[in-house]
Amino acid sequence: MTKSAASGRRRAFLTHPVNNQRVRLRSWIDPEKTPTVGRTPDYRFSLANERTFLAWIRTGLALVAGGLGCAQFLPPLPIAYLREIIAVSLLVLGGIVALRAVDHWARTERAMRLGEELPGSKFPAILAVVVALGALLLIVAVLLQSPR
């Protein structure tokens, strides 16, 4: 890849409306008017997008519930504040999942209105890796504790 191609791609990225922060925030509030673009898609597609959003919100709510559950039902752990750190990490992850859910919903809605390709996302993969690493850490913690 040549240098000019890379800078051209970067410019295209920055000038694309979705990557302008104000347009992006407004697109959360009202995907239809930011700016008034495209045509209203078949309502079934919009509802499918809405259900995907709700599935992600439930994922976020489950992470929040997990964080509260850790704080309330785990016994104090051998490392100081480890329980609270686990709980707060889960809560932060839940908040991020909810924010990303609405952002992805708005971008998908916009893409459908414009007849563009739907936005891809690395987020599910990242979340999967984070959850797997967390599980691995817990397995290690359990194995270290069990002989005593």
């Binding site: 209203t40 078949d42 929040v64």
Partner: protein, 105 residues
Amino acid sequence: MTEQEWTPDHGASAERTRLAWRRTGLSATVVGLLALRPAFHPDAGAAQWILAALSGLGWTFLIALAYRRARALRRRPPHPGRRAITAYALLVVALAALAGLVVML
């Protein structure tokens, strides 16, 4: 915006979306109850009570939003969701922040 023609909803997409809102409300209820729980601890103070009240308020808004959206889905054809969706997500973020305070106080 031009009104779309109503195509028969053979895939029951409106009903499935209504049920998805219900399920989400049930998940929110679990979070709401867990956030309320510390207020019933024997040595709960004013901070726990205030946080519990705020969480309860947030939960009420979540349920109200879901109810309104589920009713709006009865329209034929249903409108795509807009502000309700953003408001729901931001309320969940606020609830996560409140839960953080519940954990740390």
